[in-house]
């Protein structure tokens, strides 16, 4: 009887297995049939000269997957994420008909769809993917080699953006000397985490922005103990922390936009956990296992024990809460806080005067900031797509016309849009706005269309910024006039201005995964995150750090370090 049952089970397995190999066969077939098409198309391509904006004589189609924002209702009636002003612009200028093969909400849902498409080899002609997905696709040979096509078709403006990143962007898309994707080029300010502080609280308590760790401790203590919000209760938080699932500091894989982390405090100890650094002999080392990190953790543990860091660090459902609720006095985040959480914070308390500084400084009086990867999203083309250059032309067109678009419909609806800008865009814009406000320069002095929003910013700045123009305190702003404009201008003038100063920029040696990381990294990271949180919250002694270092090395860290070394040579 049992034998019978087993044999039935095995028969079933056979059915399942043969079904698998069947689909395997299909997969192999598709590329070979499309290579034929490719060769035919290459012959007629050579007849035309390569024009970055050349219009096709016959309409060609391009299918792609789209990340959409479900809460956006800006599309006029009749328009869809597939057919809108941007897709029509492409059709009119290039004669490329773009078709959305599937769409999903940007973030987790979109990633899931992309992963599904990669695993099942059911790919649209082009996609926007993340670094890990790009690597997977290159490895399984799903992507078209773009080396020559990019060289031929990319517009000078696009090549210019790439050039400003000092080869970092090229490096992120080149595998075995071949270029497999077009990288996004993001503003570097997204990776710089500043200290945001309630200046109205400082003024009330007669304090100044803390320059060193000791002063930071003093100010945080004053915020906790001296009732800065004046409600008679001891309910204020010195330093706010990340929410549940948030990160204590950025890392080499997610190197930008870590709101509410504590990166600058680590920076003040010259510690860069989560980043790959170079030691004196030029070999890569992992920042989390260095003695500076232990020192920083010791200080954080001390601050937490004294109640100066949010007791609920790492547990809160939303890190925004204490800020919008007027309970927190200090947090660390990038330049764009004017977009959120500050609009809600000043709605609840119009006197909440949040200002940003590149503080605290290290023992030598310098601000150390870790820097993000210049490229985090990538446009890829399916192997065998007949018109890979169409994708590059579309991006050329985006770069050329982005400043002219009517952005009442967000530019995210542009097919295959990835951000392309000068990496210093926000600092440059902040400086330009200040010069225009001070009257030392005229709007006409800024003509480089690469700074695409600057012209509009100059036009709008006086709508929300009241005189005196050189005082950035909240009472000299008019957020009610136009919240959208206020968000951008406040982010620039308050958030980006500090970045004009000189500060020490620390780049990670590596911004992507090596081979062993694929299997080991998530465990190593978990070990790191848990140990560090335990140390800070006092659940483990500081010397647990030494055990962490040896565990980390044993559990694959040493091997990974070797790989990083090999990767860099």
């Amino acid at each position: 009887m049992i034998k019978k049952k087993i044999s039935i089970a095995m028969a079933l397995m056979l059915v399942v297995l043969s079904a698998c190999s069947q689909s395997e066969g299909n997969k192999v077939n598709t590329p070979s049939s499309s290579t034929e098409e490719e060769t035919t198309h290459q012959t007629d391509e050579s007849e035309q000269p390569s024009d970055p904006f050349g219009k096709y004589s016959e309409t060609i189609t391009l299918t792609y997957g789209k990340a959409v924002d479900p809460s956006d209702k800006s599309l006029p009636a009749g328009d869809t994420p597939e057919k809108n002003q941007y897709s029509r612009h492409i059709l009119d200028n290039l004669n490329v008909d773009t078709k959305v093969i599937w769409q999903a909400a940007s973030g987790t849902n979109y990633d899931q769809k992309v992963n599904l498409a990669i695993s099942s080899s059911d790919l649209p002609d082009a996609l926007v993917v993340k670094d890990t997905q790009l690597r997977k696709m290159v490895k399984s040979g799903q992507l078209e080699d773009l080396t020559d096509i990019f060289d031929k078709y990319a517009s000078p403006a696009m090549k210019n953006f790439m050039a400003k990143t000092n080869g970092q962007s090229d490096k992120s898309v080149t595998f075995d000397g071949k270029m497999y994707a077009i990288p996004s080029i993001q503003v570097q300010s997204d990776g710089v985490h500043e200290m945001w502080i309630r200046k109205d609280w400082l003024d009330k308590l007669g304090l100044t922005p803390p320059k060193t760790i000791e002063e930071l401790e003093k100010v945080a203590a004053a915020f906790v103990e001296q009732d800065p919000d004046g409600n008679g209760k001891k309910d204020t938080i010195g330093i706010a922390g990340q929410q549940n699932g948030g990160r204590l500091y950025t890392n080499f894989l997610e190197s930008t936009n870590n709101t509410f982390g504590l990166d600058p405090i680590f920076g003040a100890f010259k510690s860069y956990p989560g980043f790959w650094l170079e030691n004196e002999s030029g070999d890569p080392v992992y920042g989390s296992i260095l003695p500076e990190t232990k020192e920083a953790l010791g200080k954080l543990r001390d601050l937490y024990a004294k109640g100066l860091i949010d007791k609920e660090i790492g547990i809160r459902k939303s890190a925004y809460e204490p800020v919008t609720g007027g309970k927190a006095g200090i947090f660390f985040a990038p330049w764009w806080m004017g977009y959120g959480p500050l609009p809600d914070a000043i709605k609840n308390d119009p006197s909440a005067n949040w200002q940003a500084y590149l503080l605290p400084l290290d023992a030598d009086g310098q601000f150390n900031s870790r820097m993000g990867a210049p490229s985090t999203s990538f446009v890829v083309v399916r192997k065998g797509y007949e018109h890979p250059e169409a994708v590059i032309k579309m991006l050329n067109l985006l770069v050329r016309d982005e400043a002219k678009f009517d952005i009442s419909v967000p530019v995210g609806y542009y097919p295959l849009r990835v951000p392309m800008s000068y990496t210093d865009e926000s600092e440059y814009s902040a400086k330009a706005l200040k010069e225009v406000l001070a009257g030392t320069k005229k709007p006409e002095d800024f003509t480089d269309p690469g700074y695409k929003l600057l012209a509009a910013d100059i036009q709008n700045v006086k709508k929300v910024k009241k005189e005196p123009y050189d005082n950035m305190d909240i009472q000299h702003w008019d957020p009610q006039a136009d919240t959208g404009t206020w968000s951008r201008i406040y982010s620039l003038l308050v958030g980006s201005s500090p970045l004009e100063q000189n500060y020490n920029k620390v780049y990670s040696v590596l911004y992507s995964q090596t081979k062993t990381m694929e299997s080991r990294w998530s465990n190593l990271k978990k070990l790191e995150d848990e140990t560090f949180m335990k140390i800070i919250m006092g659940a483990a002694p500081l010397d647990q750090f030494d055990k962490f270092v040896s565990d980390w090395k044993k559990q694959g860290g040493d091997k990974i370090t070797e790989e990083v070394k090999a990767y860099n040579q």
Partner: protein, 294 residues
């Protein structure tokens, strides 16, 4: 509670009542909280000031939903899914359960079929083969992908099989003597007798189809095909700020619109809340009744 209760038993009863009240309070609390948030001022909700009573009472979220065509479009898809899904599943599972409730002497393939069923309960091919199968069958992007895929919940089949098996054999024989064939036996004898378990399984199916969101995401190409829970999930999913770009910061405030999302969640709960009381009386006798017979 019996009449001649002693003080002790009465005390026991009251303790039970209080404990149950506390438990039901715990169950109602999230619903009430969602309602309170949905009726509050946006900035108060994001500052975490709302607890049991709305702060800055207003109907804005509900007004906004009334103008949101995609919400109602998804609502309609969900209703289609529940109606189609529940009917198809009920017909198939009932017709499957009847032969499987016969003994192996009457139906020789019974054990083999049962094994196949149980096998699928324990093992499955995983997401990717599932997706490829649906796509190859041409069901991708249709309501049928959501209704037919997973149309036979094996656990429910087993529930009904066991219920059928516990019905007295004598009824069976009597019907046979009266000349009833298998179809007649199933529909005039077994189905009416099995109303409790069928109602229970119907409820399971309705709740499953109403609440399931992942298939809606994977097996369709976009918002115009999403059932309601998929539509809501994409609004409340935690966004990852690590790879955000400039225009995404701008929309961050709208994305963190807790009041609107709470209103949507609340409206989405209403249909299930309405169906429950009607099926609940069967639900109470439901599964246990079958097991204590004889």
């Amino acid at each position: 509670m019996t009449k001649d209760a002693t003080i002790q038993t009465r005390l026991f009863d009251w303790t039970l009542v209080i404990v149950l009240l506390l438990i039901s309070f715990l169950c109602l609390l999230p619903l009430w909280y969602t309602l309170a948030v949905s009726l509050s001022e946006k900035s108060a909700a994001s500052a975490g000031q709302v607890w049991l009573w709305p702060v800055g009472f207003n109907w804005n979220s509900y007004k906004q939903i009334m103008n949101d065509s995609s919400f109602f479009h998804s609502f309609w898809i969900s209703i289609q899914r529940v109606v189609l899904g529940a009917s198809i599943t009920m017909i198939i599972t009932t017709m499957m359960a009847y032969p499987l409730s016969r003994s192996a002497r009457d139906f020789r393939l019974r054990n083999a079929l049962m094994w196949i069923l149980v096998f699928t309960l324990l093992f499955n091919g995983g997401l990717i083969p599932w997706y490829m199968t649906i796509k190859a069958l041409g069901l991708y992007n249709t309501i049928w992908a959501l209704v037919l895929g997973g149309g036979v919940p094996v656990f429910n089949v087993i529930l009904i099989v066991n219920y059928f098996r516990n019905l007295p054999k004598e009824l069976d024989e009597a019907a046979l003597v009266d000349g009833a064939g298998p179809w007649r036996m199933l529909f005039t004898l077994y189905v009416p007798l099995a109303v409790p378990v069928l109602a229970t399984v119907t409820l399971f199916t309705i709740v499953y189809h109403w609440n399931e969101f992942f298939h809606g995401l994977v097996l369709t190409s976009g918002e115009e095909h999403y059932p309601l829970q998929t539509y809501i999930q994409q609004l409340v999913v935690v966004i990852d700020t690590a790879n955000m770009t400039e225009d995404q910061y701008k929309r961050l405030n709208e994305l963190s619109n807790q009041t609107l999302n709470a209103a949507k969640i609340f409206i989405a709960m209403i249909p299930v809340l309405l169906v429950y009381p009607f099926l609940q009386r069967f639900f109470i006798h439901g599964i246990t009744l079958g097991s204590v017979k004889e």
